[in-house]
Assembly symmetry: C2
Homo-oligomer: 259 residues x 2
Amino acid sequence: MKEDRLILVTNDDGIDARGLDALIEVVRHYGEVFVIAPEEGQSGMSHAITVKYPIRVKKVHEEDGLVKYSSNGTPVDCVKLAVNKLLDRKPDMIVSGINHGSNSSASVIYSGTMAAAIEGCINGIPSIGFSLLDYSPDANFSSIDKHAKRVMEIALEHGIPDGICLNVNFPVNTYHKIKGIKVCRQNKGVWREEFDHRKDPQNRDYYWLTGEFHNLEPDAPDTDEWALKNNFISIVPVHTDLTSYEALEQLKNWDIEAG
Amino acid sequence: MKEDRLILVTNDDGIDARGLDALIEVVRHYGEVFVIAPEEGQSGMSHAITVKYPIRVKKVHEEDGLVKYSSNGTPVDCVKLAVNKLLDRKPDMIVSGINHGSNSSASVIYSGTMAAAIEGCINGIPSIGFSLLDYSPDANFSSIDKHAKRVMEIALEHGIPDGICLNVNFPVNTYHKIKGIKVCRQNKGVWREEFDHRKDPQNRDYYWLTGEFHNLEPDAPDTDEWALKNNFISIVPVHTDLTSYEALEQLKNWDIEAG
């Protein structure tokens, strides 16, 4: 089976990120690997697509069972390019990451790593986004290697349900041993005070995006944030239907359809 | 009440877009208006945030009850800047648009217009994204003016439920009269064949993102696509929890938590 399985790998930290190499090493055990990743870091790009500029791709590496391309596009552009143009068949799986930093809670909405997995999901391809709770470029991914393999094997064994992708976050495994895996819902959280206001040498104002995460439900044990704080790997099944069905019923009672 | 209400207006088509002016004219009836919009079009930017470059803002217009800023940031940056830095109080409402082109079905995921509304929602501010099914820069927004006012009045009367924002799409009202409003779920759809492959004058490959929308459930009368095709205004209540609770139960049965 291994040799028949085609796995597409991407990320948002860029082609040179350690986390990308770590993920390639993990998934090479399970199939032929095609990599296309942004030529530079694209953190926080969410589901952005490039419509104003031409997109270019460059083959940067090739060996038996592994080919790597870089692109000036976003993570979602990378997935679209691979699926629609560069590959001669639909990949059996898309994996994205391993992200340098958390994509739990509301971060899933801002994340380019998770957007790539969500794009895979929109295209009907089983997809997983992986993230490690360490923002450092030198993050130690070897400490989670066997856990990432376990998640891959679980996903390959059970198959990922149609219309969803998996948001997998790993706690840092250096000081505290990982306790296991928890299947979670997305925590409610928000960033606040998000700008550093400065003056440039010409005395003109500018702003750097910064900020602090606020967990709005720190004691909810069914959330990804709680799992990670307690040294569990979190897996959130993510879908692409943003409809709030609860609110839909509520709005229907407004009788606005009649007017 | 009007003079006490502060309404933040943004979009993804940029500060010069006709749809922005149309929306300002609509919402001026209901409060004081603060506008901050990208200095250039940012269609397809989704929930992207700017972390690699400094963000600048420029006041471009001021009159009684209306102030306008432009920014080099994304639509979500615009909301964050206004809420966290530029405004001295939390806006009572955020409206985004009126987008030149549809944000129904899966477009909600790629849309900068809807991302701005979703960012408002994350910050606990009642938010609405408006879109007209006409991509032309010269789209005729006057034809939907009274309908946009009706939606605003409904939202102000009922209040938008906590944790959701509204995705409002208008069919083109020139040839076919709008039949009314439908509260809908997000249609399942996908874009295919999305790249135009070309050679530049140096014979190097490049790609333009393009593509065609495929409706995966054209006959489902409870979807936004169906409503719009049938000349109804669609309203989808959108939330920020991407968890698939159905899949969550399914994954829990995999017994991966035990291992």
